[in-house]
Amino acid sequence: MNSNDITHTLSTYVTTQILKQPKRILKGDEPLISSGLIDSFHLVDLGLFIEDKFGVRIEDSELNADTFDTLDQLVVLIQSRQ
C-alpha cells in the first residue's frame, strides 16, 4: 500500500467513523489531536483500526500529538513500521 492509499484509508475512517461527516475532506497537514478534533477515546479507536488494517502497533504511550498530529505524520509512522 502506498502513502496515498494509506492516507485515503485513514481519512475515510476518521471522517466516517469518528467525525461522522463523510463529506468532509481532511487535509494531510490538518491537526487532529491538538485541535481537539479527535478525543482520547477515538484516539484509542484509531490505534486499534491501524493495528487491524495495517498490522502496525501504536503503543499507548504514543497515542498523543507529540508522536503524530496529522494524517501525513501518521502515514510516515505507519510506513516506518511496516
Binding site: 482520547s40 484509542v44 499507548d60 504511550s61
Partner: protein
C-alpha cells in the same frame, strides 16, 4: 566529524588543517569533560535537593528518613528494572557508594551542633542508626536483584507496592505529641492531631518510578546507569511540581554532548524569570484575595464571592505554571528540555481541549497507563461506546482528583470534570452528526468565544471543590456565588 571537516579544508594548507584538527580535538575533549561535569553536578545537586527541599515534619527525624526512602526506592526500582551488566559494575558501585556516602555524610552532620541542620530542617538521627539503615538498604537492593533479575513481569508487584505507599502517604495520620521532637519537655503530651505526611515530591517520584516499571514490563525501558536513573527521577528542577518527563526523552538530553550556547542560556533565563514573576509576583499577590476556607465562610453573598473565585482560578494557574516555567528554564540552562505542562488552558473552547493543555504531563501519564489500556480492553468486548467513555473518563478523572489528596473534595473535583468531559463528548457526537464544520463557519468566532467563556467558568466552579477542604463549606460558597446566604 573531524574527517569530514578535513575534507573541506584546502589541501594547500596542511599546517593550518593540522592545527584545526588539534583545536577540534581539544573542543571534543572539553565538551566531553563538560558533559561529564554537568552530569555529575546534576546528580549530586538533585540528591542533595531531595533533603534540602524536604519540609519540616511533626515526627522526629522524618525529614531525614523520607528523603532517604526516596533515594532507596529509586535504587530498588533501578535494580528491579535493569539487566545485570558486569562491564558497568564499576560505575554502578561508584554511584551506589556515592549515594550511601551522601546519606551517611548528611547523617554525620548530626554529630556537630553547628552543622546539624545545614541540609535537613531538624538534627538527623544517630549516625549508628543511619549506618545500620544504609546497610539494610544495601541488603534490600541485593535481594531485589536476585528476585527480579530476568523476571520483568514481577515488576507489577512493585507497581502495586508504590500505589499502596502513595495511598498511605495521602491518608490522614494521627500525630501524637509523643512523636514530636519537643515532647521531651515536662508538659503533658497534647491530644493527637491528624495530618498527611509531607513527603517532598513523592507523588511525582512514584509516578516516574511506575512509568519505569511499566516500560520494563512492556520491554521498552532503555538500558541506563544508576546515576542516569537517579538524576531522571529526582531531577531537582522538576521534583516539587513536575513536569513528569519520559525517561527515554530525558536520557536523550542527558547523554547529548553539553556545550554552553547562547540560545539555551537566553531561553532558559527567560523562562526562569517568567516563572519567578508568575509565581512570586502574580500568584502570591492573588493569594491574598483567592478563595480559601476562611474567606469562603466570611464572605457576603454576591460580587465579592465571584472575586474570590476568579482570583483563585488565576492564582492556581500562575502559581503552577510559574513553577513549571522555572523548572523548564532551569532544565534548559543545564541542557535538559523538560516537556511543557501548560498551553493556554483558560483560552480553550471546550473541556477536552482544556485537559489537553492543563497539567499535560500528568494527564498524558494517566492516558498512557490507565485510560488507553482500559479503553483498549473494553473495546475488545461488546460494550456500547458511550458506556465505555463514561466508565473510563469517570474513573480516570476520579484517580487524577485523588492523586492530589484522599479527600471527598478532590474526589468531587475529579467527578465534576469527568461529567463535564462526558457531556462534551456526547454534545460533540450529536453536533458533528447534524452540523458540518463548514455550516458553522460564519458563527465560528461566536461559538468559539462562547465555548471559552463556558469552559473557563466550568473549570472555575470546579476549583471550589479543589480549593476548599470539605463539602459543606463548598456548598455554602456555591450558594453565596448565586446570592444566597
Amino acid at each position: 566529524m573531524i574527517v569530514s571537516v578535513f575534507a573541506m579544508l584546502p589541501t594547500a594548507a596542511p599546517i593550518a588543517s593540522h592545527r584545526f584538527a588539534a583545536l577540534l580535538h581539544v573542543v571534543h575533549v572539553a565538551a566531553a569533560l563538560l558533559s561529564s561535569v554537568r552530569h555529575a553536578a546534576l546528580f549530586v545537586t538533585s540528591v542533595l535537593a531531595v533533603y534540602l527541599l524536604q519540609p519540616a515534619t511533626p515526627i522526629a527525624h522524618l525529614d531525614f528518613w523520607l528523603p532517604s526512602a526516596s533515594l532507596l526506592l529509586v535504587v530498588v526500582v533501578w535494580c528491579a528494572t535493569q539487566p545485570l551488566r558486569l562491564e558497568a559494575m564499576r560505575e554502578t558501585l561508584v554511584t551506589a557508594g556515592l549515594i550511601a556516602g551522601l546519606v551517611l555524610g548528611i547523617g554525620a552532620l548530626g554529630i556537630t551542633t553547628q552543622l546539624c541542620c545545614v541540609v535537613t530542617r531538624m538534627p538527623p538521627p544517630n549516625i549508628l542508626v543511619v549506618a545500620a539503615a544504609v546497610a539494610g538498604g544495601v541488603l534490600t537492593c541485593i535481594l531485589v536483584v536476585i528476585v527480579f533479575a530476568g523476571h520483568p513481569a514481577r515488576t507489577t508487584w512493585l507497581v502495586f507496592a508504590l500505589i499502596a505507599l502513595l495511598v498511605a502517604v495521602k491518608l490522614n495520620w494521627p500525630i501524637s505529641g509523643a512523636d514530636a521532637p519537643q515532647a521531651e519537655t515536662a508538659s503533658p503530651a497534647p491530644p493527637p492531631t491528624f495530618a498527611t505526611i509531607q513527603w517532598l515530591g513523592f507523588s511525582y517520584i512514584a509516578f516516574r518510578l511506575i512509568h519505569a516499571l511499566r516500560e520494563r514490563a512492556l520491554g521498552k525501558l532503555p538500558v541506563m546507569s544508576l546515576r542516569e536513573f537517579m538524576t531522571y527521577v529526582v531531577f531537582f528542577p522538576a521534583i516539587i511540581a513536575g513536569p513528569i518527563d519520559r525517561v527515554e526523552r530525558f536520557l536523550k538530553d542527558l547523554r547529548a554532548p553539553f556545550i554552553f550556547n547562547m540560545s539555551d542560556l537566553v531561553e532558559g533565563g527567560r523562562r526562569l524569570l517568567i516563572g519567578v514573576f508568575k509565581k512570586f509576583v502574580i500568584a502570591d499577590a492573588l493569594a491574598i484575595i483567592a478563595l480559601n476556607d476562611a474567606l469562603a465562610v466570611q464572605t457576603q453573598p454576591g460580587l465579592w464571592a465571584w472575586v474570590l473565585l476568579y482570583a483563585y482560578a488565576f492564582r492556581i494557574f500562575f502559581d503552577f505554571s510559574g513553577y513549571t516555567d522555572m523548572a523548564i528554564g532551569l532544565g534548559r540552562l543545564f541542557g535538559i528540555k523538560l516537556p511543557e505542562n501548560f498551553n493556554r488552558p483558560y483560552l480553550k473552547p471546550n473541556l477536552t481541549q482544556f485537559w489537553n493543555s492543563w497539567h499535560m504531563t500528568l494527564a498524558q501519564w494517566f492516558r498512557t497507563y490507565y485510560f488507553n489500556p482500559l479503553t483498549r480492553a473494553l473495546r475488545m468486548r461488546n460494550i456500547a461506546p458511550p458506556l465505555i467513555i463514561f466508565v473510563t473518563q469517570t474513573t480516570t478523572m476520579l484517580l487524577i482528583g485523588l492523586w492530589h489528596g484522599l479527600t471527598w473534595n478532590f474526589a468531587l473535583w475529579g467527578v465534576w470534570h469527568a461529567l463535564g468531559l462526558f457531556m462534551h463528548s456526547r454534545w460533540s457526537e450529536f453536533a458533528r452528526a447534524r452540523f458540518g464544520a463548514q455550516d458553522a463557519s460564519k458563527l465560528q468566532w461566536v461559538t468559539h468565544l462562547g465555548g471559552v467563556v463556558l469552559t473557563f467558568h466550568f473549570v472555575a466552579f470546579g476549583w471550589v471543590w479543589f480549593a476548599l477542604s470539605n463539602v459543606e463549606t463548598s456548598l455554602t460558597f456555591f450558594r453565596r456565588l448565586f446570592g444566597m446566604p
